[in-house]
Symmetry: C2
Subunit: 240 residues, 2 copies
């Protein structure tokens, strides 16, 4: 622990991921909000929502404040992603950014869309931005690519996909989340078998009404398996 103040500025920024349907196909795609910079450095370019940490503000509180101001979002899922601190990541001064990420449910996204957006805030297709370096200020393209990698990795070994969904969902809705995040179709029967084998969801006993054929069963997160692959079973099996 230091006794002197370091000459480093600390900022908190957030990568927001929402899954929005393609108007033509209905397939889900990852989108995120960006803020247009109105001063140097990088004036006119886009950046992740964020700002300097207030002296009396916890890290997550700072992320929530700038998210609310820029997008109106008050997301239920907010986690620390990584701390980025390379010496040369900001041209004019040394800035270390603690980056959070949030996954937005469709209903949260809809509320944010209804609200008049803050000036200089727009939503973009995440992979389009991540694959066009030079659109984002600072090292934010690197941060976005890292967040996409983490999401695509974590969805394969944790129930993080549930954060995009309401409390009750069908297996088809869950599969659509996986397909949107992973950007490829998954075999419905294989998907069903593997998700049920994981034990990360449990049937609610209810069904989705209002569909044409037989109503599909509803599921919810199984709280006992919220860290499914992180649990070592009592019989000393090491999950592969």
């Amino acid at each position: 622990m230091p006794s002197d103040r370091s000459a480093v500025t600390l900022a908190v920024s957030t990568v927001v991921f929402a899954l929005r349907p393609d108007p033509a196909t209905g397939a889900l795609t990852l989108w995120l909000p960006l803020v247009r910079r109105i001063r140097e450095p990088y004036e006119g370019m886009w950046a992740l929502p964020g700002g300097p940490l207030g002296e009396d503000e916890d890290l997550a509180a700072s992320a929530r404040r700038t998210l609310d101001v820029t997008t109106g979002l008050q997301p239920h899922y907010l986690e620390q992603l990584y701390c980025f601190g390379d010496v040369d990541r900001s041209p004019s001064q040394r800035v270390v950014s603690v980056v959070y990420w949030t996954l937005v449910r469709a209903d949260e996204d809809a509320s944010a869309l209804e609200r008049p957006g803050a000036e200089n805030v727009e939503w973009f297709a995440a992979d389009d931005v991540a694959t066009h370096p030079g659109r984002l200020a600072f090292d934010h393209t690197t941060i976005l690519a890292y967040a996409l990698d983490r999401l695509r990795a974590k969805i394969t070994y944790s129930p993080i996909a549930h954060a995009f969904l309401p409390a009750e969902f069908t297996l088809a809705e869950l599969r659509a989340v996986y397909e949107g995040v992973l950007r490829r179709p998954l075999d419905p029967a294989n998907f069903r078998r593997q998700i049920l084998a994981q034990g990360t969801v449990e049937p609610t006993g209810g069904h989705r009404e209002g569909t044409r054929h037989r109503p599909p069963a509803l599921y919810r997160s199984n709280p006992a398996r919220s860290r499914a692959t992180l649990t070592i079973p009592a019989d000393q099996e090491i999950p592969s």
Copy 2:
């Protein structure tokens, strides 16, 4: 990104884990080095090695510098663990700590032991310290407990255990690492079957010589499965 400097000090600290054998039983236990504080706040108490981030220093470079100064360790495995930034975690000023962690091989640990230790640095049994709140300054007991939790979780779904071992190792040596980290015996036959099923190790073709019975086979990390559970196989299987 901020245009003003925030009034927050940024520090970098490191949790170092080495596995040391119990003199009586030979069983491995997690140990870590701590630094005795020589000024207020928390004068006389123990803290993780660390200090304020230099303005021209990357985060990992800062962790490596303080580790070298305090313990002589220059570990090959160093990763960011988490950023701790609660408002009240330091009494006199606002400090945000980016915490790294490192896993030390026995040969690295032996080199550090041969070297005269820095004044006010001692090694402690990690779980003993973590379960006695009040021995560590600031929120370092919380940080240590978090690091232990992460290590015990991550060893079940990643090849992180290899970081404690030299490039070539027997399955019995690998099992001893798991047993030391998880603090309980594992069935040798089950362990062997599961590790080989994971595909995270591959035989070198060589054997450990100098043993009394038939020489055990040597293994090394399989680079193709360095992020074993993070890989989605081509057949669209979702790892459970």
